[in-house]
Every structure is written in structure tokens, then in C-alpha cells.
């Protein structure tokens, strides 16, 4: 079995996996990081979104062995101790979730979308989240959350 080495949420990880193991299965089944969800398993919904080398990707659509040496961040890696990431805090404050299933992917996509950019308009946020599907909220409060999260990140309250 191939061995993959990567850094997950700042910790070095080494695992023996079958070549066909998807990143999401490594995260959930081997590393017990179950915050990353599988919504569709057909690369459509974005619930499984994580950051690979700082960029949002669908972890159900990449092989673990393709990412040897990569830096991976999951929803579990965002908080600092008991302090949530400003984007997580914004989703809570703006009622940006209902059942919460899509939320880890939404938060990971949102951070990737707004990071290092000037403030985005509502329509830019909507277009930027096209890879993430939510069956509950109707998106309105998600867009509000992302706007607020972006402002909080800009204001230096977090990263």
C-alpha cells in the first residue's frame, strides 16, 4: 500500500492507504476528522470542501496519493483554541445555517473566496459560492454571513 505524508491542520500525518482512497476518506475514516461532510459523492455539492495548499478543493474528488507533501486544512483546523475563526463566528451570528450539513464546506469555500481580496459585492459572493449547495437556507443568510465574515477578517479580528 502506498504511504502518503501530508500536513493536516498543522500536524504531520503519515498513512498507508489504498491508491484509490479519496482525500475525504483519509480525513474521515483514518484521521477521524468528520467535520468534512460527504453530501453527493459526485463532485457537485461542495460539502466536502477543504483547503489544499491554501486553495478550496472538493476532497471527494482528489486522491490522497495525489497530495503527498501537501498542506491540508479542514474545518477542524480553523479555530484557535476556543476562539472560532471570524468566518465561523459570522455564520453563527447571522444564522447562516439551519441543519448545518453544508456548513463546513460553505465556511471553507467562503474563506478561500474572500481571503486577500477587496470587499466583494453580494452578487460576487453568490457567484463565488456556486460550487456549494445548501438545501435549507435559501442562501440569503449565508451571503450575509460571508459578507460579515469577510469584514471581520479584514478588520484583523482573525486571519
Amino acid at each position: 500500500m502506498p504511504t502518503v505524508k501530508m500536513t493536516v491542520n498543522g500536524k504531520a500525518v503519515s498513512a498507508d492507504v489504498e491508491a484509490r482512497t479519496l482525500l475525504v476518506h483519509l480525513l474521515r475514516d483514518k484521521l477521524a476528522l468528520t467535520g468534512t461532510h460527504v453530501g453527493c459523492d459526485t463532485a457537485q455539492c461542495g460539502a466536502c470542501t477543504v483547503h489544499v495548499n491554501g486553495k478550496a478543493v472538493k476532497s471527494c474528488n482528489v486522491l490522497a496519493v495525489q497530495l503527498d507533501g501537501a498542506q491540508v486544512t479542514t474545518i477542524e483546523g480553523l479555530a484557535t483554541g476556543d476562539t472560532m475563526h471570524p468566518m465561523q463566528e459570522a455564520f453563527r451570528n447571522n444564522h447562516g445555517l439551519q441543519c448545518g450539513f453544508c456548513t463546513p464546506g460553505m465556511v471553507m469555500s467562503a474563506i478561500d473566496l474572500v481571503q486577500g481580496k477587496p470587499p466583494l459585492s453580494e452578487s460576487e459572493i453568490r457567484a463565488g459560492l456556486e460550487g456549494n449547495i445548501c438545501r435549507c437556507t435559501g442562501y440569503h443568510n449565508i451571503v450575509k454571513s460571508v459578507k460579515a465574515g469577510a469584514e471581520a477578517m479584514q478588520a484583523g479580528k482573525g486571519r
Binding site: 502506498p2 491508491a19 484509490r20 463532485a43 478550496a56 474528488n61 486522491l63 496519493v65 456556486e130 460550487g131
Partner: protein, 265 residues
């Protein structure tokens, strides 16, 4: 997904060797099309050869009268490249509208062209601009590369290394998005080049990407949005499905060509 042997060669030559040695080897680039296919068990390769570690296949550079893009360059990299934006802004615009952010971070131009999905975006730019596909064996002109849906001039195991796009005088791309898949219901790439006007259409043809000769003739006589919109496109060899009839798609070809001309830079 069935299991397979996995290889990650460091050079194109080693990749070709690994493919040649496998009983049923397949290349994997971004995996955005291949992995869903494998997960549905529509293919069962014995070996996957990952091009991700081959530095020569990545990157964008100005070359001669245009831009050369390495096969492993992602859609996101093309969309944000200042070299592409400077020489062919329509190409950067096209790349920025492929799929979604996550797909654009992994999917590559080489993978998209080798796959030749009949509704994919890049084939229209390659055909519209009269680009050249470079492989580990030869150079293939766009007019010879696309050979019907999911079919290209590539031989078994042949590896795309780069694509060279000549700089047009002006070009524009307009896509009518199929809202569920984000692929093109119809997409039209219009280019005004030294050799004349080229108009390539994706999403509409039964045989995949094609040149709309009616629109090319109209724009050759008068390069204006109105001329494109006035061109009658035959619905004869176009797709009909639950998303739109062939007649509707034919209509969209002229409308989108007009918008592409209006937006051309």
C-alpha cells in the same frame, strides 16, 4: 472505485514509459473528470499515471505571437494570469467561468482538451483561436485535433504537454450556462484573426465543438454584433435534449456570437 497501481513520474518521458508498461494505464491530471468516471465504475484502469509532479508541464509564458500554456496549468491559474489577460483576455474570461472555484483549482487545460466533452469550454477557445496542441510526439492543429464527442487525434498513451494560442486582433467568449452542471448549454468563441474570422461553438453540436461557417461568413463581411445575430444557423446537426431543442440551440449560437462580438477585446 476499483483499485489501481499509482505512479507519479517526474518527467514526461517517464510518464510515457509508465503508460506504455501498464496493461490498461490512464493519465490523471486534475482528476475532476476522471475521478467521477472511476467512481461510477465507467472505467477500470489497471494503472493511473499522475502528471502532477512534472514541473515542465506547468506554467504560462508569452511565446512568439501569442501565449503558451502548459498542460497541467489549472483553470484558476489561466483565469488569473496577467500574461493571458494581456494577450487574450477572452481566454482568461473563459477559464474563470469553468465549473466552480473548487473545480478550477484542480482541473487542467490538458485534461479538458484530452477529454473533449461536447459541452466543455476550452475546446471552443482552442478551435476558435486556431491554437496548436503540443504533445510528447508532435504538434496538432486545432482543426485536426477535435474528432467528435470525447474523441481527439491523440493516440493511445500520447501526452499533451502544452497548447500554443496565437494572439488574435480581438476575441470574445459567451456561454449560456446549463444551471445544474455549469457546463455550456451553448458557448460561442469568436476570434478576429489575421487569417479571417473564426467562430467555434461548444455545447450545441452532436459531434462536439465545431466552427459555425454561417456566422464566420457574416462576420467576415461585417464584424459587428448585428451581423452575427442576423446569421441563420442550421439546426440540422445540433443537439436536442430536455434542456433545449436543436432549433433553440441554433438560435442561441447567433445570439451568443453577437454578444461575444460586442464583448470582444
Amino acid at each position: 472505485m476499483h483499485n489501481f497501481a499509482f505512479h507519479k513520474p517526474g518527467s514526461v518521458a517517464d510518464a510515457a514509459k509508465a503508460i506504455g508498461a501498464a496493461s490498461d494505464g490512464k493519465i490523471i491530471a486534475g482528476g475532476q473528470t476522471l475521478l467521477p468516471t472511476l467512481r461510477q465504475r465507467l472505467a477500470e484502469p489497471s494503472d493511473l499515471v499522475d502528471l502532477g509532479a512534472i514541473a515542465d508541464l506547468k506554467g504560462i509564458k508569452a511565446e512568439g505571437d501569442g501565449v503558451t500554456i502548459g498542460a497541467m496549468t489549472t483553470h484558476a491559474e489561466v483565469a488569473s494570469s496577467s500574461v493571458v489577460a494581456g494577450a487574450i483576455p477572452a481566454l482568461a474570461h473563459l477559464a474563470s467561468h469553468i465549473g466552480d472555484r473548487q473545480v478550477r483549482h484542480r482541473g487542467t487545460i490538458g485534461g479538458s482538451l484530452a477529454n473533449n466533452d461536447p459541452a466543455a469550454d476550452y475546446p471552443s477557445a482552442v478551435l476558435g483561436l486556431g491554437a496548436t496542441v503540443r504533445t510528447n510526439k508532435r504538434e496538432i492543429k486545432a482543426d485536426d485535433f477535435f474528432q467528435g464527442m470525447f474523441t481527439t487525434a491523440l493516440d493511445e498513451g500520447e501526452i499533451i504537454t502544452a497548447v500554443h494560442f496565437p494572439k488574435p486582433e480581438k476575441a470574445g467568449y459567451e456561454k449560456f450556462v446549463q444551471p445544474a452542471s455549469r457546463f455550456a448549454l451553448v458557448g460561442v468563441f469568436v476570434a478576429k484573426t489575421k487569417g479571417g474570422v473564426r467562430v467555434a461553438v461548444t455545447g450545441a453540436g452532436q459531434e462536439g465543438v465545431f466552427r459555425a461557417k454561417e456566422v464566420e461568413a457574416a462576420l467576415g463581411a461585417n464584424f459587428s454584433a448585428d451581423a452575427a445575430k442576423g446569421a441563420k444557423v442550421s439546426a440540422d446537426s445540433l443537439n436536442s435534449d430536455l434542456h433545449g431543442s436543436a432549433v433553440y440551440r441554433a438560435h442561441l449560437v447567433s445570439v451568443l456570437a453577437g454578444r461575444a462580438v460586442a464583448a470582444a477585446k
